[in-house]
């Protein structure tokens, strides 16, 4: 679990996860496009994310595809967020989203 928190404690790595969330199953090359990071940096961040099991990879032909793996984050939620609290938290989160959307 330390590896998950460490991996998430970096804005560039969270950005990589966001990009996979928007479009799952990308190659290193695709992830490097439109990013202000060198290919080497992206590759290093991906290795840390994979080590923490937040990114899962599969081989397709000669390509390595990267996927956002939500399982460890789900396990963190499971550990600290009881199922009875979930609906109240969802209501709070929906309210926050609705109120903040109005500010834009």
């Amino acid at each position: 679990m330390d590896a998950v928190f460490k991996a998430l404690a970096d804005a560039s790595r969270r950005e990589l996860l966001d990009r996979l969330r928007a479009d799952n199953g990308q190659t290193l090359g695709q992830l490097c496009e439109r990013l202000a990071m060198t290919r080497q940096a992206v590759s290093k961040h991906l290795a840390i994310l994979e080590e923490a099991n937040l990114v899962a990879t599969i081989k397709r032909g000669r390509e390595k595809l990267h996927y956002l793996n939500p399982v460890p984050i789900h396990e963190i939620g499971e550990r600290w967020i009881g199922k009875f609290e979930r609906s109240r938290l969802q209501a709070l989160s929906d309210m926050k989203k609705a109120l903040e959307a109005g500010d834009e």
Partner: protein, 148 residues
Amino acid sequence: MSKPKFVYVTYIRTTPEQLWSALTSPEFTRKYWFGVHHETDWKAGSPWQMVFPDGRITDSGEIVEIDRPKRLVLKWRNEFKPELKSEGYSQCTIELEPIGEAVKLTITHEIDRPDSKLIEAVSGGWPRILSNLKSLLETGEVALKTKA
């Protein structure tokens, strides 16, 4: 098939044989899959279906490939929601790989269409099922007894 829509990975402290039994035995499956269980003879080419506690069929298809305790490929179609059923068949691949004292369990799901509602539904379900399966195998208890 196109590339998988999602790839879920979890590491479970158990053996491939135990994990395989957990994935395929009806008694065990009911415990971590919210009462649902498989019905099939687990042979390549055989029909496969998943059944709710009340007997309704949730999903059905065919065993495409089976290599105990390493790999299982299922042809998979939803049966109880018309809008999902009309999307037709998807393919689910389950792979087990021993790594040290644990087993790496990888679930991938693919379908030949963009914006699939079926994929959206199963991708929400798998993390809860995997988390239950992991705690059941590692501690003997499930985390979530009912669908939250």
